[in-house]
């Protein structure tokens, strides 16, 4: 990856191609600059000076307001640079170029730095996607000593994912919910769950107001039926439309995904979703280390942080590998059917063409790719 086509600002600590005089230019990605490099003779003040110069250059002579608004650049770059200059003072650089701190903490700082200023996943090239995934894997390794497996697999050509739910078959066991929580590393503290199973009274139709999605008694209960809701991966998703920073979008295989690192947590999308498909992390998500699913995807079940939106991704880490989502696999009744809508021989297509299917709030024009049917 060459420097000039990067979509974000980076400091390139210790990388050779970084020519602008200042910070450690010994050429090591991690570790202190060995030998008699000039940089080491600097005092801390000098170093900070140099680092700031390297990052914001000639804008230095202007005051903060001018730096942001006088310079010809878009707002994002402006904020990035402003934040960058603040951060430099705060210490990311001092850690990574400090001779006293160890190799690992320097590498950590370097990774944090690059992760902090990486771009929107949607706009990244494949190499950039791979790079951020590699960084996240390495970062996890440095922090916990454990290795995870993270994919950045893109949508496959000629695939459009669709889902069908058989209302007559669902018994309300909620095995799908459990499987989903475990597969997708959902917060155990707030007991987040993407899937809701609604217990509805026979003869009342789909009355969500009177339905119970947190029953606990022997199921199926007399005089009730069960149906599940989750993200429907609309083909015309209103949540995507409202996101002010384009942190959520529709992939080519129809999955509506979130870049957790780009989301600013405004929750517009949550309000825009007519199906209550989105979940917000009000607190830091906690998953016990031994329960973490280490088979992850950048757009799927990788670890989230506080203040970001998440939701069902049809288990992108599984579905793009050819597996069924965890809920489909866990369901003992076969009420859940998943597949490729573009494959005329797929079972999902057979269901759509031969059963009487319908979707929720069809008149909204959201075109959910989640159909309900009965035997």
């Amino acid at each position: 990856m060459s420097n000039n086509n990067k979509k974000w600002f980076s400091l390139n600590l210790g990388k050779k191609e970084h020519v602008s005089s200042s910070s450690c230019s010994c050429g090591k990605t991690s570790g202190g600059c060995g030998g008699t490099s000039k940089a080491h003779d600097m005092t801390d003040d000098e170093f900070a000076e140099a680092a700031i110069k390297a990052s914001i250059g000639e804008e230095r002579t202007k005051d903060g307001f001018e730096q942001v608004f006088d310079v010809k650049m878009d707002r994002r770059t402006a904020f990035k640079k402003l934040t960058a200059s603040l951060l430099i003072g705060a210490g990311a650089v001092s850690t990574s170029c400090n001779v006293i701190s160890g190799d690992e903490s320097k590498e950590k700082a370097q990774i944090d730095w690059e992760e902090q200023f990486k771009g929107n996943y949607k706009l990244m090239t494949d190499e950039e996607r791979q790079a951020t995934v590699d960084r996240l894997v390495r970062s996890y390794q440095l922090r916990t000593g454990k290795t995870i497996n993270m994919s950045s697999k893109n949508a496959e050509e000629d695939v459009l994912f669709g889902y069908a739910f058989n209302i007559s078959k669902c018994q309300g066991y909620m095995d799908c919910v459990n499987a989903c929580v475990e597969e997708n590393n959902q917060d155990r503290n707030s007991e987040m769950q993407y899937i809701r199973i609604h217990e509805m009274k026979d003869g009342k139709g789909f009355n969500f107001n009177e339905a119970d999605d947190n029953y606990y008694h022997e199921v199926p209960a007399e005089g009730h039926f069960y149906m599940g809701t989750q993200c429907f991966h609309c083909d015309n998703p209103p949540c995507v439309e409202v996101c002010p920073v384009q942190a959520t979008w529709r992939e080519d295989d129809g999955l509506v995904v979130v870049d957790y690192d780009w989301c600013v947590g405004c929750r517009y999308c949550m309000a825009a979703c007519p199906y209550d498909g989105r979940r917000f992390n009000w607190s830091k998500p906690e998953v016990p280390e031994e329960a973490i699913n280490k088979n992850q995807h950048y757009l799927g079940n990788r670890m989230r942080k506080k203040g970001v939106m998440e939701k069902c991704t049809f288990c992108v880490q599984r579905s793009r590998a050819g597996k069924n989502p965890a809920c489909v696999e866990a369901c003992p009744t076969g009420a859940r059917i998943f597949g490729n809508l573009l494959d005329p021989n797929s079972t999902i297509r057979w269901v759509l063409e031969n059963k009487k299917v319908f979707r929720l709030k069809e008149d909204l024009g959201t075109e959910p790719k989640f159909w309900y049917f009965m035997d």
Binding site: Y173, Q193, N214, H217, P344, N354
Partner: protein, 209 residues
């Protein structure tokens, strides 16, 4: 004057034509509905590189073709612990049902339809224990036991062949492997038991208090 009206007519016609032309013009990849889109985009479907094969794993399967559907189902005979039946059933059933013999299959209680409709020999052949038999007495292999079920459960059979009933094995991608009837339903007691849900969300209770 006449010429003028003619001209007007022409203009009106032309603009009307233009209107029609533009109002129905769609951008590429834009469809009226998802079903239109699916239909249009799957016309030249060539298959994908994604396969379920690895996810099916070591499971022993057999390929079946029923109507226009061809798919894999788990092989059954090797999964039945006491198969082949004739290893015990060496004599005709009538002779084995005496007091001198130890009772076998004591744990099987038929809970399927009612006594008028079904008993052991509706499906099992007392003269040929290693095979099942159809209502008309034809032999049915244990591996193809779905042919026994579909004598009554015709609707379920149709749905199963298409993929609306039953459960996939492996993944969504081809080759398709599906569970067969007896993988989910105990043939002697085919209904699903009621039980407690796998989960109760205590946080939701708190939130909604």
């Amino acid at each position: 004057m006449k010429n003028n009206i003619n001209m007007m007519n022409k203009i009106v016609c032309f603009s009307f034509f233009l209107l029609i032309f533009f109002s129905c013009k769609h951008h590429e990849n834009e469809y009226h509905s998802i079903t239109d889109k699916i239909e249009a985009e799957s016309k030249n479907y060539q298959g994908t590189s994604i396969s379920s094969e690895a996810h099916i794993g070591d499971l022993k399967t057999i390929e079946i073709t029923e109507g226009e559907h061809t798919f894999l189902i788990p092989e059954r005979k090797s999964q039945i612990k006491s198969y082949a039946c004739t290893e015990c059933h060496t004599k005709p059933l009538a002779q084995m049902q005496s007091k001198d013999f130890k009772k076998a299959h004591w744990d099987i209680k038929l809970d399927h339809a009612n006594e008028n409709t079904m008993n052991c020999v509706t499906c099992h052949n007392p003269d040929n224990m290693d095979h099942l038999k159809s209502l008309t007495g034809n032999t049915i292999d244990f591996n193809h036991s779905y042919n026994l079920c579909n004598q009554c459960h015709t609707k379920q059979f149709e749905d199963w062949k298409g993929g609306a009933h039953g459960k996939r094995i492996g993944g969504w991608a081809p080759p398709r492997a599906s569970m067969t009837c007896v993988n989910c339903h105990n043939p002697h007691k085919p209904h699903f038991e009621s039980r407690w849900p796998a989960r109760f969300n205590t946080q939701k209770v708190k939130e909604r208090e």
